[in-house]
C-alpha cells in the first residue's frame, strides 16, 4: 500500500532523527521523572491494588515479585520494601484515593496521566511476559487515575507496532550490512545507543504516519519515551518472540499431532487479521445449516482484541446437535412445548417438573447428540487447557468467550487449568453464556484461581431448552446457564440475559446484542446489513470504497461509512428489529478499533458477496 511505504519512509527518516536525538537526550523512564513522593505513591497504589485484586494466598508470590520488581523499576530505595510489602499484603488499603490524588498532582503527570499506564505496561512487558494479572492491574490503576481504558488499548497497539518495527528493522539491517561495511558501523552504533532510541523513533514515526488513531489519543502520550526506553532495556526481538510464542506460528499453526483422547477435530481459526498484546478465543456451541454453518459466523461483530481466534471443534457432532435443535424448535413440538411451558417460563424458573409428554416423545432426537457433545466438550476443554498452559499462544493474556457447549468447553478448560501448576496469569476474562455446567458456587470457586479478570456468567431464566436437555444428562438442577452462580468473589459477574435471550438458540442469533450487554467490544458494522436490502447506503459505500484506494482517504471513508451506517440504520435494519443499533458506548471506541473495524467490514462485505 502506498501509504505504508510512505509511512515506512517516514519512520526510517524519523529513525535517523531519533538516532541523533538519542545521543543528546536519552529516553528517560518515568521513574526518573517523578519526584520521590510521586514514585512512592505510585508504587503504593500498585501495592494496594494488587492486594485488593488478588488477595488470595496463592497469589502472594506474584504480588511480592511484582512489587519488589516495581520498587527496583522505580528506583526507590530498598528501605521502602517493608512498607510496600505491607501494602501488597492488604494493609493500608485505606489510602488508595490519597495516593491516586498525590500521583495525579505530580507535575510530570499533570498534563498527561497516561504516562502511568504506559510505564506500567512497559514494566509488565519487560521480561517479554505479559501476565494477565498485570493487565488486570493496569486496568485497575488506569481506572483509579480516571484514565479512559481505551488509552491502554492504544498504547498496547503502539507498543506492539514499535516492537514489530524494531524486528523488521533489524532483519533488514542484517541484509544491508552485508553489502555496506560503512553503514554497518553506523548501525552498530545505532544498536549500541540502545534499542530505546529505535523504539522511540518508531513511535514518533508512527505518530507522524499512522496519525489518526494515535493523534486522537494525544501525540504526547505516544512520544512520551518511557515506554520505548523501557523496552529498549530488553531486547525487543526477545520480547516479541516471547510474547507471541517463539515458533511464531501461534495458535493458527497449532495442529493436533495425534488424536487426543476422543477428540476428532481441534483447530484455531483466525477471526481477525491483526496482532495484539492480548488475544480472545471464541468457542461456538453448535453449528446449523445455513447462515450459522461455520464456527466463525456468530462472532462476526466481536472486536474485543484485534487478534481473535475461534476454536473449531468436533464439527460433525455439533452440526448434528444443531440440526436436532432446529428440528426441535422449528417443528410442531416447539409450539406444543411453548404452550405447555409457558407457565414455567413465566414463573421465571425452568425446573424439570413434569415435561410435556409430547416433548418427551421426541426427546431422543436431541438427547443423543446432546449427550455426545456434552462429553466431547469436556474433553475439548481439557485439551484447550493444555494448549494454553504450554503457551502456544505466546505469553500474553487470553480472554475466552463461549456460548452453550462452547461455554462448557471453557468451563472444563478452566477446571483443568486450576489443577495444574503455573496456570495463573494466563487467562484474563472469561465469558460463559448459557453454560450447560453445574451452577454450584463451590465448583466455580476453583476457577477463580486461574482467571485474573472477570468471570462472566450470562444466564437466562427462561431457557427451557437448556433445562430440558439437561434433565437427564445430569441429576442436578443447578445449571449455570439458567441462574446466577452465587460465588462471593470480585471476579464473579452474573448477568441476567433473559430480556435478550428468549430461547437457547438466541445465544447464537443475538450474539451481537449479547456481547454488547456483557461489555465485550464489538464492531459497529453488522453482517446482516448486506442482505437486508438497505435502501441507499450500500451503493454509496461501494463507490466510496472504490475511490478510497489510498489510506489517508480511506480513513475518511471509514468515518463517513460509519456515519452513514448510523444514519442508514432505521431503514437498513427495518427487517431486523432485533438487530441492535450502534450503542452509544460502543461508538466511542478508540480510533484504532475504527480502522480495524474498517478492515473487518470489508471482510464481512466479501463474505457477504461470496
Amino acid at each position: 500500500m502506498a501509504a505504508e511505504e510512505k509511512w515506512k519512509g517516514c519512520t526510517s527518516k524519523q529513525h535517523s532523527e531519533a538516532e541523533q536525538a538519542g545521543e543528546k537526550e536519552p529516553c528517560v523512564l518515568l521513574g526518573q521523572q517523578l519526584g520521590e513522593p510521586g514514585r512512592f505513591a505510585y508504587a503504593a497504589l500498585c501495592g494496594i491494588s494488587l492486594a485488593s485484586l488478588f488477595p488470595e494466598e496463592e497469589q502472594s508470590s506474584f504480588r511480592m515479585e511484582f512489587i519488589e520488581g516495581f520498587v527496583k523499576w522505580l528506583d526507590l530505595p530498598d528501605a521502602v520494601l517493608p512498607a510496600m510489602t505491607a501494602f501488597a499484603s492488604g494493609l493500608g488499603g485505606e489510602g488508595t484515593e490519597t495516593f491516586a490524588q498525590i500521583l495525579l498532582k505530580d507535575p510530570t503527570l499533570k498534563e498527561n496521566p497516561v504516562v502511568i499506564t504506559q510505564d506500567l505496561l512497559s514494566f509488565s512487558l519487560r521480561d517479554g511476559y505479559y501476565d494477565a494479572r498485570a493487565r488486570v492491574l493496569i486496568c485497575h490503576i488506569t481506572w483509579l487515575l480516571r484514565i479512559p481504558l481505551e488509552e491502554l488499548e492504544v498504547l498496547e497497539e503502539s507498543l506492539l507496532e514499535s516492537l514489530k518495527e524494531q524486528k523488521e528493522e533489524e532483519s533488514e539491517t542484517a541484509e544491508v550490512s552485508r553489502k555496506k561495511k560503512e553503514r554497518r558501523k553506523k548501525l552498530k552504533r545505532y544498536l549500541l545507543i540502545g534499542l530505546a532510541t529505535v523504539g522511540g523513533g518508531t513511535v514518533i514515526g508512527l505518530t507522524g504516519g499512522l496519525a489518526a488513531p494515535l493523534v486522537a489519543a494525544g501525540a504526547a502520550t505516544i512520544i512520551g519515551s518511557a515506554g520505548a526506553a523501557a523496552l529498549g532495556s530488553t531486547a525487543g526481538i526477545a520480547v516479541m518472540a516471547s510474547l507471541f510464542g517463539a515458533a511464531g506460528a501461534g495458535l493458527t499453526g497449532y495442529k493436533m499431532k495425534k488424536r487426543v483422547g476422543a477428540i476428532e477435530e481441534f483447530e484455531f481459526l483466525p477471526l481477525t487479521e491483526g496482532k495484539q498484546l492480548h488475544i480472545t478465543i471464541a468457542i461456538t456451541g453448535w453449528l446449523c445449516t445455513g447462515k450459522y454453518g461455520s464456527f466463525t459466523a456468530p462472532w462476526s461483530s466481536m472486536l474485543q482484541s484485534s487478534e481473535q481466534y475461534c476454536l473449531a471443534w468436533e464439527s460433525k457432532y455439533l452440526m448434528e446437535l444443531g440440526n436436532a435443535l432446529d428440528t426441535l424448535l422449528n417443528g410442531f413440538v416447539n409450539m406444543m412445548a411453548q404452550e405447555a411451558l409457558k407457565f414455567t417460563v413465566l414463573s421465571g424458573i425452568v425446573t424439570a417438573l413434569t415435561w410435556p409428554a409430547s416433548l418427551l416423545t421426541v426427546a431422543s432426537v436431541i438427547d443423543n447428540p446432546w449427550g455426545v457433545c456434552l462429553h466431547r466438550s469436556a474433553e475439548v476443554g481439557k485439551h484447550l487447557a493444555h494448549i494454553l498452559l504450554s503457551r502456544q499462544q505466546g505469553k500474553r493474556p487470553v480472554t475466552l468467550i463461549g456460548f452453550s457447549l462452547g461455554a462448557r468447553v471453557i468451563y472444563f478448560c478452566l477446571q483443568e487449568m486450576a489443577q495444574e501448576k503455573d496456570s495463573q496469569g494466563i487467562i484474563e476474562d472469561v465469558v460463559l453464556l448459557g453454560a450447560p455446567v453445574e451452577g454450584e458456587a463451590k465448583y466455580w470457586k476453583a476457577i477463580t484461581k486461574v482467571v485474573s479478570g472477570r468471570i462472566i456468567n450470562g444466564y437466562c431464566r427462561g431457557d427451557w431448552l437448556l433445562g430440558f436437555v439437561y434433565r437427564t444428562s445430569s441429576v442436578q438442577i443447578n445449571v449455570a446457564g439458567l441462574q446466577p452462580v452465587d460465588l462471593d468473589d470480585r471476579r464473579m459477574v452474573n448477568m441476567d440475559l433473559s430480556s435478550v435471550v428468549n430461547g437457547h438458540l438466541d445465544y447464537m442469533k443475538q450474539m451481537d446484542t449479547i456481547l454488547k450487554a456483557v461489555g465485550i467490544k464489538t464492531k459497529e458494522c453488522c453482517p446482516e446489513e448486506k442482505g437486508s436490502g438497505s435502501l441507499f447506503s450500500p451503493p454509496a459505500k461501494k463507490s466510496q470504497r472504490a475511490a478510497g484506494g489510498e489510506a489517508p482517504e480511506e480513513e475518511n471513508t471509514m468515518r463517513e461509512e460509519d456515519a452513514a451506517d448510523g444514519e442508514a440504520l432505521p431503514a437498513g435494519r427495518a427487517q431486523h428489529p432485533d438487530a441492535p443499533s450502534c450503542l452509544g458506548g460502543e461508538a466511542s471506541l478508540p480510533c484504532p478499533d475504527c480502522s480495524n473495524s474498517g478492515d473487518g467490514k470489508k471482510e464481512a462485505a466479501d463474505k457477504g458477496a461470496n
Partner: protein
C-alpha cells in the same frame, strides 16, 4: 494469623523530620540503634507482637517520613489508626512548637475521635536540652495525651511508650473490638452477631 493474638492494632508515628521516629521504632522492634539512620522515604512499616496484661496484641506500626516533601503522603496512613505516637526532640524547641500543626493534621485526617495519643520527647540522653519535661507534660495534659520522655539511643522509655499506648488502647474497647471482629466479615452480615457492640463512635466509623 496467630491464634492467641487478641487483636491487630494500627499504630502511627508522626512528628517533625529528624526527631528520631525511625530510631524509636528500630529500638522497639529490633533493639538496635543506628546514629546514621537515613531519612525515611514515604513510610516505613514494621510488625511486632507484644503482650500487655497477658493480652497479646499484634502491632502494625507505620513510621511516617517527617520530611516536608513527603508530607502529602501522610494523610493516607491516618485512616483506621487506633494509636498515634507524636514525637518531638527535647533538644530542638522548634519540633515542640510544631506539635500543634501535627495535632491539627491528626484531627483533620483521623477517622475516629477516640484515637489514643502518646507524646514522646526523644533524645533525653543529649546534654543541650531545650524543652523541659514539665512543658511536655503540660502540653500532653492539655491535649489529653499520654506522655513519656525517651531516648532511642540509651533505650530509656522506649518499650514503656509502646506498652502504655497499647494498654490504653486495649482499655478502650470500642476502639479495637469492632476492628478485630469486623475483619473478613461481609458487609451484608454486619447486623449479625454482636448486638451489644461497643462505643457507637468507633463502631460506626468502621463501616
Amino acid at each position: 494469623m496467630d491464634e492467641d493474638v487478641l487483636t491487630t492494632l494500627k499504630i502511627l508515628i508522626i512528628g517533625e523530620s529528624g526527631v528520631g521516629k525511625s530510631s524509636l521504632l528500630l529500638r522497639f522492634t529490633d533493639d538496635t540503634f543506628d546514629p546514621e539512620l537515613a531519612a525515611t522515604i514515604g513510610v516505613d512499616f514494621k510488625v511486632k507482637t507484644i503482650s500487655v496484661d497477658g493480652n497479646k496484641a499484634k502491632l502494625a506500626i507505620w513510621d511516617t517520613a517527617g520530611q516536608e516533601r513527603f508530607r502529602t503522603l501522610t494523610p493516607s496512613y491516618y485512616r483506621g489508626a487506633q494509636g498515634v505516637i507524636l514525637v518531638y526532640d527535647v533538644t530542638r524547641r522548634d519540633t515542640f512548637v510544631k506539635l500543634d500543626n501535627w495535632l491539627n493534621e491528626l484531627e483533620t485526617y483521623c477517622t475516629r475521635n477516640d484515637i489514643v495519643k502518646m507524646l514522646v520527647g526523644n533524645k533525653i540522653d543529649k546534654e543541650n536540652r531545650e524543652v523541659d519535661r514539665n512543658e511536655g507534660l503540660k502540653f500532653a495534659r492539655k491535649h489529653s495525651m499520654l506522655f513519656i520522655e525517651a531516648s532511642a539511643k540509651t533505650c530509656d522509655g522506649v518499650q514503656c511508650a509502646f506498652e502504655e499506648l497499647v494498654e490504653k488502647i486495649i482499655q478502650t474497647p470500642g476502639l479495637w473490638e469492632s476492628e478485630s471482629q469486623n475483619r473478613g466479615v461481609k458487609l451484608s452480615n454486619k447486623e449479625e452477631g454482636y448486638g451489644g457492640g461497643g462505643a457507637c463512635g468507633g463502631y460506626c466509623s468502621m463501616l
